[in-house]
């Protein structure tokens, strides 16, 4: 059995994550176009969620191999950079198409979803770190 270097294992894990993300894009596109928009909502939604879940799962080996500095870098960048990028695009959509446009509403729902996901994960994170008081 060959022992791979840390760097090699990181590259393989990253490649797996990238391939899974690209594959999820292709498969998700096929699922999304399986029928008329809105028809079979739950079926299509479940299919898309399953594809996204598999893509997420494929990133787990990469995430677990990150050292704490790299992981902190991703968390900080995603929090500040991800939020700033999302808000900048949403504001551009509102300014360009109006607050009530489909594009603006879609962006708003995305941000709401991110906020809910954040709160759920943060709550779970806090709960897992609880301990006996005194």
């Amino acid at each position: 059995m060959s022992v791979q270097s840390y760097r090699s294992r990181m590259r393989i894990a990253l490649a797996l994550a990238l391939v899974a993300a690209i594959a999820a894009g292709f498969i998700g596109s096929r699922v999304a176009h399986a029928g008329e928009p809105g028809a079979n909502f739950w079926l299509v939604y479940a299919g898309l969620l399953a594809v996204a879940a598999l893509a997420f799962a494929a990133t787990v080996p990469w995430w677990r191999k990150l050292d704490d500095m790299q992981r902190t870098g991703h968390l900080v960048s995603w929090y500040w950079g991800g939020m700033a990028g999302g808000v900048a695009v949403m504001m551009a959509l509102v300014a360009g198409t109006g607050a009530q446009s489909d594009l603006s509403q879609g962006a708003l729902y995305t941000v709401l979803g991110q906020a809910v996901g954040f709160l759920l994960f943060f709550g779970g994170w806090r709960l897992r770190r609880g301990g006996p008081a005194a």
Binding site: Y6, M10, D68, M69
Partner: protein
Amino acid sequence: MKNCLRDLRRGRGLGQAELAEAIEVSRQTIIALEADKYDPSLPMAYRLAAFFGVPVEELFFNPWRESR
């Protein structure tokens, strides 16, 4: 956090990439630690200290202890 990681590493004749490989972190992490641009987690500090066979405070200087 000030430290003597670079000195210990050089004392062992290791490059940054070699040390990174040995303790399974990225080379960028070693560079940041040596440049005092990143404070390691406790597990990483212990891992580095164990690798060099020194107590953690001999590797990463405790500024609060020094100030007393």
